[in-house]
């Protein structure tokens, strides 16, 4: 499977190069480069050893950083041109936005708490994000300066809990289970609160 995966990934990369070359709209060209990053990740994943697994995360982070930097360049260019940027004001009223968020977010939070660790944090955060976004779309004001700072501080405390758990692994290997729980708890709170902040962002 290795050779097939690599060859197909390269073909996808070359095809997306053609697509970028044909594309006249700058924003679409930028989005199409994402396809290229996916084929890059496929090539690394095709190797399939644990070292390759460790390489995927830096590859992903680097590509995200580049895309963010270039998106910022595009925004600055539009500002320099003197165009007014659209602020996406969504204004529609669906019943599902009013009824579903509480239920779905509670289920996701409980499931995330059972999972714990990094994955659990991400699941809890997706529940919180869904709740916040639904409230935002309906136009309810959930942004509160005090809440924002409080959640930031809470996340910091959870992070230090994670660090304590991590250090405990090395200093007191006998009590590894306790420190494992420490680290899992710290990580789940930290990730969910940090990602949940996205929903409250201005």
């Amino acid at each position: 499977m290795f050779y097939e995966t690599v060859i197909i990934s390269f073909i996808v990369g070359i095809l997306s190069l053609f697509a970028i070359g044909v594309q006249k709209n700058n924003l679409h060209a930028l989005i199409l480069t994402d396809l290229l990053e996916c084929s890059l990740l496929c090539i690394i994943a095709a190797v399939g050893t644990d070292l390759a697994e460790a390489l995927i995360l830096p590859g992903l982070v680097v590509s995200m950083a580049e895309i963010l930097a270039i998106a910022e360049v595009l925004v600055v260019r539009e500002k320099v041109r003197g165009k007014k940027l659209n602020d996406f004001k969504i204004n529609f009223d669906l019943e599902i936005l009013r009824t579903s968020p509480l239920f779905i977010s509670i289920i996701l939070v409980i499931y995330g708490a059972i999972l714990s660790g990094f994955t659990g944090g991400a699941v809890i955060a997706s529940g919180l994000l869904y709740y916040f976004f639904c409230k935002r779309v309906l136009g309810e004001n959930i942004i509160n300066r005090v809440k924002w700072v409080g959640i930031c501080g809470f996340s910091g405390i959870a992070w230090s809990l994670w660090i304590v758990g991590f250090l405990g692994f090395y200093l007191f290997p006998k009590y590894w289970l306790v420190f494992l729980l420490f680290a899992g708890l710290g990580l789940v709170i930290k990730v969910c609160s940090k990602l949940g902040l996205l929903g409250m962002a201005e």
Binding site: V6, L30, S39, L40, L55, S63
Partner: protein, 214 residues
């Protein structure tokens, strides 16, 4: 050995830094120019106007700080790339230099400069595919990414080396091309683009050394 003998190795777990004759000279050059960039003040530019008086363009302090910071990051990343002893680490340093170069170019708030910066950014994103793809293929073929190990293996890596070279060229090698395209020599606050040319020059030389060694 093309690098003129090893003085010593600093192993930080996975990350191994090597001090050879070649890498030490490159490191010292990169650090010297970083200090030079830190100490310089940007030039003021006199722009000829079609109608009326000529205009003296001054750089505001926050814009200056932004550009200088990017230039210093670029210099430090170049210095790190000189010492690293791992192909994937080197690729990461290359992309870091690429991002810093985008930052240096795009700090000038003019439309033609930002256009060139955007095109350079697209090129550098596209170039990550051959760069990281080549390192993954080398890992698949030999089972290691360390240059010290690869030196002893004697495997045929021609295709991977060509891909790696292509990736390096797209990531930092073309940076002076886009700097020239944007007429950065004439843009206000010019001395910081020195770092673009220096990093691209040093990294090309270092890449050739790595590809000859493995």
């Amino acid at each position: 050995m093309i690098d003129g003998g090893i003085f010593g190795i600093v192993p930080f777990g996975d990350i191994i830094f090597k001090y050879s004759m070649f890498s030490t000279i490159g490191f010292v050059i990169a650090i010297t120019f970083t200090i030079l960039v830190y100490l310089t003040k940007p030039e003021k530019q006199l722009e000829a106007q079609k109608f009326g008086e000529d205009k003296l363009i001054d750089i505001p302090l926050h814009e200056l700080k932004n550009r200088r910071y990017m230039a210093i990051v670029c210099g430090i990343a170049t210095a790190g790339a000189m010492l690293t002893q791992d192909i994937f680490d080197f690729a990461l340093f290359l992309t870091l230099v690429g991002i810093a170069n985008i930052g240096i170019v795009s700090a000038v708030k003019r439309e033609h400069v930002l256009n060139a910066s955007f095109q350079y950014g697209l090129t550098s994103i596209i170039a990550t595919l051959p760069l990281f793809g080549a390192s993954a293929l080398i890992l698949a073929k030999t089972g290691t990414l360390s240059i010290l190990e690869l030196h002893h293996l004697n495997k045929n890596l021609l295709f991977e080396k060509i891909l790696y070279g292509l990736g390096m060229a797209g990531e930092t090698g073309v940076a002076p091309y886009y700097a020239a395209k944007a007429e950065m020599f004439r843009a206000p606050g010019s001395p910081y683009i020195l770092m673009i040319h220096l990093s691209s020059l040093l990294l090309i030389v270092r890449t050739v050394e790595i590809l000859l060694t493995i």
